[in-house]
């Protein structure tokens, strides 16, 4: 526990890590602000402006000509069987106020599908950087050897640093996500909008998986840097895997299931409690014959499958990082 306290203090004093942790809170807050602004209720000023635009549009020649044509040939405009042709054509042809009020009200279900997945992925990247930066500085400055002169038990040193990072990452991810959703919930209540019960039921799972993912990202960045002993090397490897790995997996003979083995698909499946992907072979070769054969190529990647995939990557990097730190000479 003493070592864990030391590493938490070290983390608190490391400015680059603090900046990344702050960004992990500020970015969701910024996204929340953007959503709140984009979905703000229609004001009387908005209505007045829309009304003004409607009147401007109604005065235009092509609108008047369209109205005249509708009155002459209403069937071309879909106006049939009406007692009041004038009113029916005006409704179809003339601009309406609603056309100029394009803002959609806040939809929690939509946010759950879109932003709810994006925020953990953004935090994943930030905390991966934080994990790499935190310990990369120890290797760059050479202070790792100084620390080992005071605590030579390398496994404990490794675990204390990892523990501090995981705790910090989990706390930041929990706070950032909880604040984001609490903020949206407050907006929904303040604007008197509907909030389906199933949305609230899904939130704890979404936030929990986000916390695990972000803590895992910090641990991954840390482990890789303990392996390569350089922040730059770690980031280079991660970038190379992200870019080159996608191309390599795309050309491997995986029976058309290549998308299932891509990191981003598994990240999405983990965050979203499973996701759909396409089997490219089925899509190309299948011919619908009316027998109920699936020709869409749509496949399901479950949460368990994604957890096994990401967990294997994490455990492998942790094992390699720890074994290397225990066995190699420290400069």
């Amino acid at each position: 526990m003493r070592l864990l306290g030391v590493e938490l203090t070290r983390l608190r004093w490391r400015r680059a890590v603090l900046a990344l942790l702050a960004a992990a809170v500020v970015i969701p807050a910024f996204v929340f602000g953007a959503i709140a602004w984009e979905t703000r209720p229609v004001t009387s000023a908005d209505l007045a402006q829309a009304q003004q635009m409607v009147e401007q549009e109604r005065d235009r020649g092509y609108v008047r000509r369209s109205l005249e044509r509708c009155l002459e040939r209403p069937e071309e405009f879909g106006v049939i069987d009406t007692d009041d042709l004038q009113a029916a054509c005006e409704e179809v042809v003339l601009p309406q106020v609603e056309w100029f009020l394009t803002r959609q009200p806040l939809d929690l279900e939509q946010q759950l599908d879109e932003t709810g997945s994006a925020i953990p992925v953004v935090l994943f990247v930030l905390l991966l950087l934080a994990g790499a930066t935190f310990v990369g500085a120890d290797w760059t400055s050479g202070s790792m050897s100084n620390q080992l002169l005071f605590e030579p038990r390398r496994t404990q040193v490794w675990a204390a640093k990892a523990g501090a990072l995981v705790l910090a990452a989990a706390a930041v991810a929990a706070i950032a996500q909880a604040a984001f959703w609490l903020g949206l919930a407050s907006l929904v209540r303040a604007r008197d909008l509907p909030a389906p019960d199933d949305v609230w039921a899904q939130l704890p799972g979404l936030i929990g998986r986000g916390v695990i993912l972000v803590a895992g990202a910090a641990l991954l960045g840390y482990s890789l840097t303990m392996l390569f002993r350089s922040t730059v090397a770690t980031l280079g490897i991660v970038f190379a895997v992200a870019v080159a790995g996608t191309f390599v997996i795309a050309v491997l003979p995986l029976g058309g299931d290549n998308e299932r083995w891509m990191v981003q698909t598994n990240l999405l499946a983990f965050v979203q409690n499973g996701t759909d992907y396409y089997n490219s072979q089925v899509s190309v070769t299948c011919v619908g014959d009316g027998t109920g054969q699936d020709c869409t190529g749509l496949r399901r990647l479950s949460l368990a499958g994604a957890t096994a995939y990401l967990g294997t990557l994490l455990v492998a990097s942790v094992a390699l990082g720890l074994a290397t730190f225990r066995g190699r000479d420290v400069p």
């Binding site: 003493r2 030391v6 005071f150 605590e151 030579p152």
Partner: protein
């Protein structure tokens, strides 16, 4: 006989080169440092001093051999004795963006020491007043002093100092030298690795000299110097006659700046008798003491040449 604080047996360290070959940094080294006093650890650049120290401290793994600190096998049981060992290895290594105080605080907390120990250590090395400055803003001498302060956090029984006066001004060097001497006198065992041999000779009671990873000599400084024989300077009224008669008597004689220089292991009364029998009376017979630097250079000349070949 004093117990050994540091003991290595058949210590060996190999590094694999990128071309697939092996480079032996330390070769079958038996090192024995008794408790108390200051022990010099000398050798040319690349002779294996720092590698040996790093192996003792668990920073590098030995390829073969055994090591003990305070009789405890290391690195296997290093945690049992780590709190008794303070060390500065090569250049000081701290987090550059932390202040000196922050750097020491983290190390102190690692061993459960309080901030009072940090303040005391900073005061001892005269960094009080600059402890809130970032480490990267320190001069080389201040960094060196901070490294020494870090070793004092543990209140160690063994202090391993690898070039501790690098970058210090003359006053700082003297201060560190006095500190080392005081620590040695107070019962702390100091292993001092340094290139400044005059400094080592002033503070060390014993020394080990290594070259190309192998032990070349070890013992008390006095014993080491006595093994190199004694040289005498002789002045007489007729140096040419004295030169001739001394050589005839079997002495090795050369002409120096201030008289004849006689080398050999024979006692000085033989010189006096030989000259007196020829009616040559001595105006001066002075033993010329070999210093540690001369001894070291003589001893390591072949090793250095071998390494450079």
């Amino acid at each position: 006989m004093n117990a050994l604080v540091i003991e290595t047996r058949g210590l060996r360290k190999e590094f694999s080169s990128r071309r697939g070959g092996l480079r032996v940094a330390v070769d079958d080294l038996d090192l024995a440092v008794p408790a108390g006093g200051v022990h010099g650890f000398l050798g040319p650049n690349g002779s294996g001093k720092t590698t040996t120290i790093r192996m003792l401290l668990g920073l590098a793994r030995a390829t073969a051999g055994s090591m003990r600190l305070f009789g405890t096998e290391v690195p296997g049981r290093l945690p049992e004795v780590a709190e008794r060992v303070g060390a500065v290895v090569e250049s000081p290594k701290f987090a550059p963006h932390f202040t000196g105080h922050q750097n020491l605080t983290l190390l102190a907390r690692t061993i459960g020491a309080g901030s009072d120990r940090v303040d005391a250590a900073l005061e001892t090395v005269r960094l009080t007043g600059r402890e809130r400055d970032r480490y990267k803003a320190y001069s080389l001498g201040m960094k060196q002093r901070l490294a020494i302060a870090a070793t004092l956090l543990k209140d160690p029984d063994l202090l391993i100092l690898d070039e501790p006066t690098n970058g210090l001004d003359p006053a700082g060097i003297r201060e560190i030298r006095d500190t080392i001497r005081d620590l040695g006198a107070s019962g702390v065992t100091v292993l001092l690795s340094s290139h400044i041999l005059a400094e080592v000779q002033q503070v060390c009671t014993s020394a080990t000299i290594i070259g190309n990873g192998r032990m070349l000599a070890s013992g008390t400084v006095e014993d080491l110097l006595s093994t190199s024989g004694t040289t005498y300077r002789v002045r007489v009224a007729d140096p040419a006659a004295a030169h001739r008669h001394l050589e005839a008597a079997g002495f090795t004689v050369s002409v120096g700046d201030h008289g004849l220089v006689i080398e050999g292991s024979r006692p000085p009364q033989d010189i006096t008798r030989t000259l007196a029998e020829q009616g040559l009376w001595l105006a001066e017979l002075t033993p010329i003491r070999v210093d540690l630097e001369t001894f070291f250079l003589d001893l390591t000349r072949d090793e250095t040449l071998g390494a450079s070949r």
